[in-house]
């Protein structure tokens, strides 16, 4: 069932995945506060920007959850859990060290794609469940975006699998160590995958579900711990896709001197900071433009990318 990399005991693996998501969320939250202050040139008080998000989290824990009219409570509770679960599923197939992954399955990139699609289901249900108009608009908007960016993601991942001759992410890293990093071999792939990462983790200019233009969309009716759970899910998903970007394009744990997990952490944090910076620096894009650009520009680009990568892999 598994690929080449060693796997820890399943219980230990689950703990590792949870730990990665928690640490990643803490880093993303901190980076978000620091980058926001930098972008706003709001003085350079590092201590204040480090403390602020945690104070906000503590405050939000004591807020009560308002009740809407006849919501679908089951789905409302299930949706954040499913979203976090999909981030966990994505992390579990990624190599986390030079010679181990939680589950380096042979179908790695398809699992990664499935995590994305099921995350779309979770976001839709999260917007559907509260029985509230702005949440529902966010849900539908995200489905329109999702049907557009999922294809991009699949083509980019297939292109990454071509030189590795395997769908296992462990093999994809190994093939980058043997040849060149995918960021050099497949230069079109990285920006396309960053679009996917921002979209699926509901961040920055491509946040179609929870945008402030919809009064935070699917999360508009959530407060207190429920809101915290969803915000954790978003940052966990950003962590998972920053990790995936580092693995697929920057050869993940490969690097001199430092141990593999340290290199992976450095690359992941770098990608996460770029994503967070995009979130604060780039303007929001409307859904009509998003879908039009995705289908008429990005999708043909991903075809081209796949064709080039295929020819390069044969050569």
């Amino acid at each position: 069932m598994t690929g080449e990399l060693a796997a820890p005991h399943p219980v230990l693996g689950a703990v590792v995945v949870l730990g990665v998501l928690l640490v990643g969320t803490a880093i993303v939250t901190t980076a978000d506060a620091v980058v926001a202050d930098r972008v706003a040139r709001r003085g350079l008080d590092l201590r204040a920007s480090l403390v602020r998000p945690w104070r906000r989290i503590a405050l939000s824990l004591v807020r009560p959850q308002p009740a809407t009219e006849r919501p679908d409570w089951g789905l409302w509770v299930l949706a954040p859990a499913a979203y976090v679960g999909m981030a966990a599923m994505a992390v579990s197939v990624l190599p986390l060290g030079t010679d181990w992954a939680v589950a380096d399955v042979r179908t790695g990139i398809v699992v990664l794609g499935s995590a994305e699609v099921l995350a779309m289901v979770a976001v839709y249900l999260h917007g559907w469940a509260p029985n509230s108009p702005l949440s529902l608009v966010g849900a539908y908007r995200f489905v329109a975006a999702g049907l557009s960016f999922l294809l991009l993601s699949m083509f980019v991942l297939i292109a990454a699998a071509l030189p590795a001759e395997s769908m296992s992410l462990g093999r994809i890293v190994a093939s980058q160590q043997e040849g060149a990093w995918n960021v050099l071999r497949q230069p079109l792939g990285l920006p396309l995958f960053l679009v996917v990462a921002l979209s699926v983790s509901l961040h920055g200019p491509l946040d179609m579900a929870d945008g402030t233009d919809l009064a935070t969309g699917t999360v508009a009716e959530s407060s207190g711990p429920a809101r915290l759970a969803w915000e954790f899910g978003r940052r966990a998903m950003l962590t998972a896709y920053a990790l995936a970007t580092a693995v697929v394009f920057l050869a993940g744990p490969a690097g001199p001197v430092l141990p593999g997990w340290a290199w992976l952490a450095v690359k992941t944090v770098a990608v996460a900071v770029v994503l967070v910076w995009c979130g604060h620096r780039l303007g929001r894009i409307g859904i009509q433009r998003y879908v039009r650009i995705a289908w008429t520009v990005l999708l043909p680009l991903s075809f081209l990318h796949l064709a080039i990568s295929g020819v390069a892999a044969l050569a």
């Binding site: 069932m1 006849r70 679908d72 179908t107 794609g113 839709y124 539908y140 999922l150």
Partner: protein
């Protein structure tokens, strides 16, 4: 994984697949019905992974999730009770349907038990995906070409069937929109022309900009 763990997992997934399949037609909320069907697919996908058809199992996750999201949108659009806020019973011939359903399940079950299928275990358990890939890109290439052409034809056909305008004008020419209030014959909305779509909204971003520059 040991045999017992596989057996426990199989029975869990199989019972869940059947239970969710039953809930599809028994729940009032159409969105829940759609995602019950998705849950049934996911459980069958998990069984396929247990059967070592890993690629097919994971592909089920991927394909069926997309399909069920689209299905949910159509359910909300076409059903009068998408959120299940009222009890609903939209069935015909219920008894006959139950009888035929049980008959089909029992009949096939008897075949499954009685039939003497010659067992032949997998020769290469680690190479099932590679074998499938070689088959698709080799001996079954013609079949995959047919699959591709069929899908293209499906896309064209779906657009032709569902698009609002045809060669002889709008597809809904002569049709009448439904009453907004079933008891009030005057509540019929005006026919909306199919020509109004496109970029009609593109130019509205500039309103309310007075005094904004300075």
């Amino acid at each position: 994984m040991t045999g017992l763990a596989v057996d426990i997992a199989f029975w869990t997934f199989a019972v869940a697949a059947a239970w969710f399949g039953w809930r599809v037609f028994r729940t009032d909320s159409m969105v829940r019905a759609t995602f019950c069907l998705l849950a049934s697919f996911l459980n069958v996908g998990a069984i396929m992974v247990l059967l070592l058809a890993e690629y097919l199992g994971v592909a089920m996750f991927f394909m069926m999730s997309v399909e069920m999201v689209v299905m949910a949108i159509f359910m909300v659009a076409f059903m009068m009770n998408p959120a299940g806020l009222n009890p609903m019973e939209m069935v015909h011939q219920p008894r006959a349907a139950i009888a035929v359903g049980i008959g089909a399940a029992v009949g096939l079950g008897v075949v499954a038990v009685v039939a003497d299928l010659p067992p032949a275990a997998l020769l290469d358990e680690a190479g099932t995906i590679r074998a499938l890939g070689n088959e698709l890109m080799g001996a079954s290439m013609l079949l995959m070409e047919v699959v591709g052409v069929t899908l293209v034809a499906t896309m064209v056909g779906a657009v032709v069937l569902s698009s609002a305008s045809g060669r002889y004008g709008s597809a809904d020419t002569g049709s009448v929109p439904p009453l907004l209030d079933p008891d009030d014959p005057d509540s019929r909305p005006d026919l909306v022309s199919a020509d109004g779509e496109g970029d009609a909204h593109a130019g509205h971003g500039g309103h309310g900009g007075h005094g904004g520059h300075g």
